[in-house]
Every structure is written in C-alpha cells, then in structure tokens.
C-alpha cells in the first residue's frame, strides 16, 4: 500500500496542532474526496478539539464538503457580481446539460453542482470553478464545450 496517503498519515504529521485544522481538512478532502463522519471524529480526537467544532469548520467553508461528491465538482459563484452578470442563466445551462439540480450529483458520479461564495474573479464574472480551474466571462452557450473536456 506504499504511496497511498491515509487520514492517519495526515494526522500523524499534524499531531497536537489544532491551529492546523484547516490544512488537515484540505489534505483529507484531497485524498478522500469529502470529509466523512469518521474522518471528522478522528481529527477531533487527534487535535483534542470538540467534534462539533471540527464539524462546524468543515461546514462553514464552501470548499469543504461533508457529503461524498462526483469526480468533478462544479462550483458556481453565488456572490452579487456574478449574480448581476447572469449566473442564473449559467446555472440553468449547467442543470440542463447535466440533468441534475444544484446540490446534486450525476448518476454516473462524474459531476456535482454546488454554490460557492466569491472566488475572487469578479472582473470576469460570471464565473465557475471546475475542481481547481476557474472559468470566467461565461455565457450559456459555452457550457457544453467546457463540460466536454471532463466527460
């Protein structure tokens, strides 16, 4: 099993460092795709923090998720500039193209649609993120082409 990073490996690295909570959650989500109940309890135990607090942090930030998601996570910015410049039309296009609603995952497990707070690219609003990649200046007709890169 060499080469596969486990939750325990991550926690060993940060043992006794409650200040590293957010880094730990990022690393766990990177290897597991989401933050499971078991992982949250393990983190609380390792850092001697209340589990409610770890869960609170995991649910506060929109880049963390406590539910399993598709292989590609599409995040639509829900901040005001994107909204004003047509985020709703982008959402409609995404929902139509993927056949799912916001917050859902496609049956084949390939895509999840969710909202995010501002991703800091208001200059190219409306914008979305697919995994780590930002797409800006969007119009609904650009969506099928963008998605085809991930199918």
């Amino acid at each position: 099993m060499a080469g596969i990073i486990t939750v325990d490996d991550i926690l060993t690295k940060y043992k006794g460092r409650p200040d590293a909570l957010i880094d730990i959650l990022h690393e766990i989500q990177d290897v597991q795709g989401f933050l499971s109940d078991t992982s949250i309890i393990k983190v609380a135990e390792a850092l001697d923090l209340p589990a409610s607090k770890v869960y609170g942090v995991a649910t506060f930030y929109s880049l963390f998720t406590v539910k399993p998601r598709g292989r590609n996570v599409i995040r639509i910015c829900e901040s005001a500039p994107c909204h004003v410049l047509g985020a709703t039309a982008i959402i409609n296009a995404l929902e139509k193209e993927l056949g799912i609603k916001m917050g859902e995952t496609t049956g084949d497990g390939k895509f999840t649609l969710e909202y995010t707070s501002c991703i800091g690219v208001c200059g190219v609003a409306p914008a979305i993120m697919i995994n780590e990649v930002v797409y800006g200046n969007l119009t609904p007709d650009k969506i099928p082409h963008i998605l085809s890169e991930y199918r």
């Binding site: 949250i40 609380a44 209340p50 409610s52 607090k53 770890v54 869960y55 649910t59 506060f60 406590v66």
Partner: protein
Amino acid sequence: MVTLTIDGRKVQVEKGTTILDAAKRIGIDIPTLCYHPDLEARAVCRVCVVEIEGQKLLQPACAYPVSEGMVVRTNTQAVRQARRMAVELLLAKHPQDCLQCIRNQNCELQALAERLGIREVRFERRLRGLPEDHSTPSIVREPDKCILCRRCVETCQNVQGVGVLFPAGRGADTVVTPVFGNDLADVSCALCGQCILACPVGAISERDDTERVWEALADPSKHVVVQTAPAIRATIGEEMGMEPGTLVTGKLVAALRRLGFDKVMDTDFTADLTIIEEGNELLERIKEGGVLPMITSCSPGWIKFGEHYYPDLLPHISTCKSPQQMFGALVKTYYAQKAGIDPANIFSVSLMPCTAKKFEAERPEMRSSGYQDVDAVLTSRELGRMLREAGIRFDDLPEEEHDDPMGISTGAGAIFGATGGVMEAALRTVYEVATGSELGDLEFEQVRGLDGIKEAEVNLNGLTVRVAVAHGLGNAKKILEMLRAGKANYHFIEIMCCPGGCVGGGGQPIPSTMEIKGKRGRALYLADRNMPYRKSHENPAIKQIYAEFLEKPLGERSHQLLHTHYTSRSKY
C-alpha cells in the same frame, strides 16, 4: 483612567472598560441581546450599536473599549434605525409563537422588541422548519427559535469545556447543533442545562414534566411525596417575584402542601445521609489504601461528564448515590414501611435545581426499591410555573416545617447547594468521626466563595487531609487533568458541574448570572447558621434511620440502597 463623552456627558472610567459599561455608570442602559455579563462578548447581534464621532460605521458597545476623548452617542436616529433593523431581521426568521413559548415573558428578544417599539416587521417571514430535539429526558432544543447569539456555544465550549454545541454551516443557513446535526442524546452532553441559562430565547429549554406531576396530584390512589433540594429554598423565591438570595424554606413547604403534595420532605435529610456514607467511605479509602483522591458524586452532570470524558477516573468517584437518589430509594422502602403504604402507590417527586437530575432519575440502576425510585424531577422553573398556575402567592403564605421523618436536616445539608458546601459538610463530620473530638470552628471559609478552584488542608490526628473544590466543568477539567497526570495530590475533591454549584444549576430561575448565584449561595450559608444542628452526624433523624433500618454506614442495606456504580461512555 480614561475620560470620554457619552450623550454629551463626561464620564471617567478605567482603561479597558467597554462603552456599554461606561454608559451604565452614568445611568444609560444600552440595549443588548447577544451580550451576557459572564461571557466573552461576541458582538454578533448588533443591537447595542452606538455612534462614535470620527467613525463611519456604528460600533457594538458591548465589545468596544473606551479611549481618551472619545465622543459617543447612544440614541441618535441612525442608532435607533440600526437597532430596529437588527431586531426586525431576527424576527423575520423567528417563529413568534410567544404566547405558547416556554420563555413567554422571560425572553430577551420579546423584551427587546417591546423596548424598541417594534410594531411591524418589514421583511417577509421565512422560517427554516428545523427539527426539534426531544431526545433526552433533560433538554429540549428548538433551533427555529435560535437567534444565533452563540451564548450557549460560549457556555458549552468555554465555561463548561464540553463543546457539544457549535454553529454548523454559514450565513443564513447556520444552525447551532451537536456534531453532524445529531440529537443531544447521541453526543457526549453532560445535560447540565447551562446552555438553557445562557439562551436569551426559547431555543433551549428544560423538558417540562409539570403535567405528569399534576396528573399524580389529581390521582387519589397516589401518595405523592416531594423532596426539596438544598438550593431550591434560596432560588424559588425568584420565580415568585422575590429578590435573588431570599431564603423561603418555610413558605416553600407551605406552598407545596397547598399544591396537594401528601408529604413534603427534604433532600437535605439525604444530603446529611450522603455525608455519613461518603465520609465513612473516605475514611475507609484512606485507612485501607483505596483509590484516592476520592471525588464527590452528588452532581449528575459531573457524573455523566466523567463517564464520557474521564472513564479511566471512574474508580475515584465515591460510590454514594446523590441525595436525590438516596431519598428516592428510601421513600419507597424505609418510608413506605414506616407509613404502611404500598410503594407501588407512592409517586416520588423531586424538586431540583438541575436538568441532569431528570436523566439521573431515569438511569436503569436507580431502581433499588424495585420501582423507579424518583418518578418525576421538577426544576425550579417548572415549580414556578405550577405555583403561578395555582395562584399561590408567597407573600400570603405562613412558614411551615418539612414532614417527618425524612424532613429533618442540618445546616450541613443546606450548604450542599453552594460550591464547597459538600466539602465543608463532609469536613465537619469526618473531623469529628476521625478524631473523636469536637470541631471548634465549623466554618471552612477556604472552600467557600466563587473562585473556580479552592483548596484546604485539615489535620486529622496527625494526618493532613488535603482537599480541593471545583465548580463548573471547565474548572473540574483542570483538576481532572492534574489527576490524570498524577499531579493531584489530594485526598478528597468536590466537583460540582455548574458554576456556583447547585444555586447556579441549569434548572434554576432565569436570569442566573454569577452575581445572582453569589447571592443565592450566601442565603444558604445564612440558612446553615440559623439551623439547630449544623453537623450531619448530629441529625436525630439520621441516627434514627441507622438504628431502625440501615444499621451502619457502608453496611449491607446501604450498599443495596444508597450506593451505585458508573458506566464508561464514549467521548464522541
């Protein structure tokens, strides 16, 4: 010192004072909501905003420190508008079922809406429809009523050091909840109810058992016996509109008789009994090399906390049941026998300062009499409701005495309700039992008062007995961590779950600030001073119950009825 101007008047206060406190000095009461005098200010509700000259934005008075030359205005058009806006936004998300709410007329949001003259809410009502939590016998959560002030979170995390409540989610979707949105029954909650005292609204409350007690009182086949916890006599007056710290023992007894209880007896009696059993247990542990330090076991919130978070330390906890449960076990055995009543027909009610007592009464091991030993637990607040519904006015009541035989008690029993009281009561008895000589000064001042952790030493025939007292689970944790590390060099430790001890219990009247708790505690020490007997072992009813029934401390019957065991529980 810092000089500033508030509403055109100069005021001089110490550096570090908040605008809120500075304004109070000159008689200006800035409205607040998320602020609580015993908790760190979070400044999330924006109700206490004020104008500060030279600042563009309004600032929260509860968290903003004064500075030299500062000019503050607390009652301008902009301030009033901002406050109303903040409250209207809260009301738009609030059920507003005030008439049916458990906190009707004792709700900070309701009072604020009245004070700010809010007659309409300009926003669309949007309720979240969040599920209620009725999972425990002690605490009810109604998250739809929550205004996200975080006072319960601050209390649970930082005062009690438990941390089962925390905000999850963000913005408008935030919910204060146990981990994973679980119910309280599924997490390691001590059920202390301090969150209830902290809550400004009806989002967290006690499970109301008044209906079950009304039913028992109305049932002619039931012999309904009530026990009154030590702390109640110093707090129930507040439910009846009296000042904090008013001692109402005799009126309480009279009121309970008027409600229809067949016998009104006293938990103070079994508090005395606890001292005899626990004192002897301590001496036995010292003599026979048992597990030391021994820790008191009266406080069910502490017991449940210990079972979840310190299961390795359970052998340190005295095996004595709490006074409530000793009373419960005896009322359906000793008293039933003496009075010639079938225990099946006895309905045993306890009047407690505490929500965790409701859980304790329902523990499977609390059926030593063959029945559930305590059938219903009422908090001070619930009794207050019953008394008000019945129209009983304390002003017009005579002072009456508790019933025999389990109504006779001592000053030692009375002080159980204040932090340090169990320790002081125990020392009075342990000293005399161990040395055979009379204790000169009965008052152990070192263990009194509201310091978080108190220590004392007592010389017992050459053996220096070292004791410690902690109240509030946050303080208890400090001692328990020392104990785990092998650094708690004590013989005997008193732990009370709630800050201030039982006078600050989660079932006590709201508001329950540290200032109020201090007054209540002093009332109990006054009760002690006025009692004919002040040492548990001098209680004639205690001597009688050993002679007639129990035979001897730590004897077979005691083990069967008065002692218990603990259960290791999960931390998560």
